[in-house]
């Protein structure tokens, strides 16, 4: 059935049909819109979802044993290490950038706050979905609200993730209201933005570090090169670096993919990314020395000459110091390509760090080390794919990459 006639039959007037065509089908007719969906990217997405979504249903019907290689000694696997830990740290661009713009007054970065917030919101939703898949009894997630385990780092993470996801939803509603044309709701929300930004910084600071604190109770399980009593500081500082790097990577990709959506005021993306490069260089440089302090504090210098030491050095030199220098070189000599390359290497490095801490170097000395099953990998890939297509669907319709000029005076 044609979507236009569907809208007419439900509402009995022409207005909803044109609204549906304009807002949902991006100004196209039903058939033209369906034809526009046939692209190589969408074929790939369909193939992934065709396998992944039934697997997700299989996980909730058949249980963890049927879908994962998790065990009593390795209760945390890919869904915690990748979807939760990595999803959340890569979403740090939302609070990093909104704090820089709304709290510290660096207003030139205002045009790239919305994509960062949308990325953060979808990243947190992906993390929550991964967590629900990982919990043996997902319905028990409500226990974090019912029982006050205030001495637990996991309790802090649970509450902060709940709160921050709510804050991100509210921040995301601003472009959604512009898209819907709800002026009154938009004006109310605009007034609340400063408060929401303060809350986002508070909640993010608390749980980005608390995710590292989760490992403070496992000094015997985590390899000494990655374990440190300062691990929560490492998690927070690396989250700042991840946020800056993700904003550069996501900005580069979205400005190429959604170029047709960039109307109105021109944003000098190269200039913004050079500025982010300076910040990234400094934060990663500090993070590199903090990691060395962790080794010094634990007196583990001799472990650097083992196989695990080589892996650790690859992480902190290859994926922390090298991107810092790439950022620095690019920012100093105004070569934005180096900044972008540094951002990609830094993002890979932060992902590697979270996987090292939660999977690779965790239970490092036990036989039969955990390797995720293909079903776990496929479900993770499905969740990432859902996040990507959600970003594309929203960015193609709502004023994410460029603000609606009719609302400009309210910001």
């Amino acid at each position: 059935m044609n979507s236009v006639s569907l809208a007419r039959s439900r509402n009995g007037e022409a207005f909803p049909a044109s609204w549906f065509n304009e807002k949902i089908l991006m100004g196209m007719g039903g058939r033209a819109y369906l034809r526009s969906l046939v692209t190589p990217f969408n074929v790939l997405v369909t193939a992934i979802l065709t396998v992944g979504l039934p697997l997700l249903v299989h996980r909730f019907t058949a249980g963890l044993g049927a879908t994962t290689n998790l065990s009593q000694t390795q209760p945390w696997g890919l869904w915690i290490g990748f979807d939760m830990m990595t999803g959340i740290v890569l979403a740090a661009g939302g609070f990093t950038l909104s704090a820089a713009v709304h709290l510290f007054g660096v207003h030139e970065y205002h045009p790239i706050v919305r994509p960062a917030i949308l990325t953060a919101f979808l990243g947190y939703l992906m993390a929550v979905c991964g967590l629900l898949a990982d919990l043996g009894k997902p319905w028990n997630i409500i226990m974090a609200i019912r029982y006050q385990g205030s001495a637990s780092a996991l309790f802090e993470v649970a509450w902060c993730v709940m709160m921050y996801t709510t804050v991100l939803l509210l921040e995301f509603l601003l472009p959604a209201f512009e898209w819907l044309g709800w002026r009154r709701a938009h004006a109310r929300l605009t007034q609340a933005m400063l408060g929401l930004t303060v809350l986002s910084v508070v909640f993010s600071t608390m749980h980005q570090s608390a995710l590292g604190s989760l490992f403070l109770i496992a000094p015997a399980k985590l390899h000494p090169l990655w374990y440190s009593p300062y691990i929560f500081i490492f998690f927070f500082v690396s989250a700042l670096a991840a946020g800056i790097s993700m904003v550069v990577v996501e900005g580069t990709l979205s400005h190429r993919i959604f170029r047709h959506r960039l109307t109105g005021t021109h944003v000098d993306m190269d200039q913004l990314q050079l500025g982010l490069g300076k910040a990234g260089a400094i934060v990663l440089f500090a993070y590199f020395f903090l990691k060395l302090q962790g080794v010094a504090e634990g007196r583990h210098w001799e472990l650097l000459f083992t196989g695990w030491g080589a892996w650790f050095l690859l992480e902190i030199v290859g994926f922390v110091l090298v991107p810092s220098l790439l950022y620095g070189y690019g920012a100093r000599y105004r070569k934005v390509r180096f900044v972008r390359a540094g951002a990609i290497v830094a993002v890979v490095g932060i992902v590697l760090n979270r996987l090292n801490v939660s999977i690779i170097a965790y239970n490092w000395n036990r036989p039969n080390h955990y390797i995720p099953s293909w079903k776990e990998v496929m479900i993770s890939l499905t969740l990432v794919t859902l996040g990507v297509i959600a970003f594309r669907w929203i960015a193609n319709r709502m004023p994410i990459l460029a603000e609606d000029p009719r609302y400009a005076q309210e910001h």
Partner: protein, 55 residues
């Protein structure tokens, strides 16, 4: 009696402090390099600059 370990200057702490000092020194240099600042004393003479450009 227990010794007050806080006041003992044992090896690991020396390494940590040395590392922190090295970091601070390098950080200042790195910060200036990233910002594109020149080290003090190596600023070009503004009067010599036009003279050099003369054919």
């Amino acid at each position: 009696m227990y010794e007050n370990e806080f006041l003992n200057l044992y090896g690991a702490k020396v390494v940590e402090y040395v590392l922190a000092i090295v970091y601070l020194v390098l950080f200042v240099g790195y910060w200036r390099w990233v910002q594109g600042e020149k080290a003090p004393g190596v600023e070009p003479d503004p009067e010599a600059e036009p003279a050099r450009r003369r054919p």
